[in-house]
Symmetry: C2
Subunit: 145 residues, 2 copies
């Protein structure tokens, strides 16, 4: 597995080990990880700190041009909120671990010029499948279902 | 002015008084304010706590059905991230103070069935104009420009 997707998966597993929703994300700039995060709905009671949002928040405030040189990796297809954040900050490329357990706003991202690459990782998918089967209520709350 | 938009404007002014970006939001359920917030980029160094996001976070975790009975008021047209959060949680109606100083994703929201009402408030506009003229760098960073 790509080292950056592997790092996002480490984040997802950290979240799961802490009792949370196992979705992780890393942000890459100049071939280095500059931001990492994972979903914080359970741990922090947050409704906005999805994995991608947590990585952005942990990256901190940057000038607009910085984001335009970044790639965002996420273990799961990004929901409307996280896709909106990608559009807001004009992140040009997103690498997605899998989109079989949840299909996010990939079409919207592509329609706005974002390069979207889907890895279709078995490891990412297995982790989400296990979680969704064990904790369907928490998962549904996280995606507004 | 509508009492709920007035409450969002109070939030915006609280943020401005604290040295922040003057955008405020309230969330209404059964004709009562259940969440309030304002942009926290300066105060908390946050890149995700726009006014609408701060109101959602302050509202806290709710079942999916709750959001579908809510209206979100915001002093300024919602950016892609905040619009995405509105879509994620399926908030059916958004009332916007003004969209002359910044046009958000109103078309996207409408295309997904969200009722979008624009008040075109002079008070909301004056506050943003004053801020954008005084602090253009902070403002541009907040909208990824």
């Amino acid at each position: 597995m790509d080292e950056f997707l592997a790092a996002a998966l480490v984040e997802a597993r950290l979240g799961y080990a802490a009792g949370g929703i196992p979705i992780g994300s890393v942000i890459i700039h100049n071939n280095e990880i500059v931001g990492r995060g994972h979903n914080q709905r359970v741990q922090q009671g947050s409704v906005i700190r999805h994995g991608e949002m947590d990585a952005l928040e942990n990256l901190g405030r940057k000038p607009a041009g910085f984001y335009r040189e970044c790639t965002l990796y996420t273990t799961l297809s990004p929901c409307p909120m996280c896709s909106g954040a990608i559009l807001l900050y004009k992140i040009p490329r997103v690498v997605i671990g899998e989109h079989r357990t949840f299909m996010g706003e990939e079409d919207l991202l592509r329609s706005r010029g974002v390069q979207v690459d889907v890895v279709d990782s078995q490891e990412c998918r297995s982790l989400m499948q296990e979680f969704e089967e064990k904790f369907p209520d928490v998962w549904n709350q996280d995606i507004g279902v």
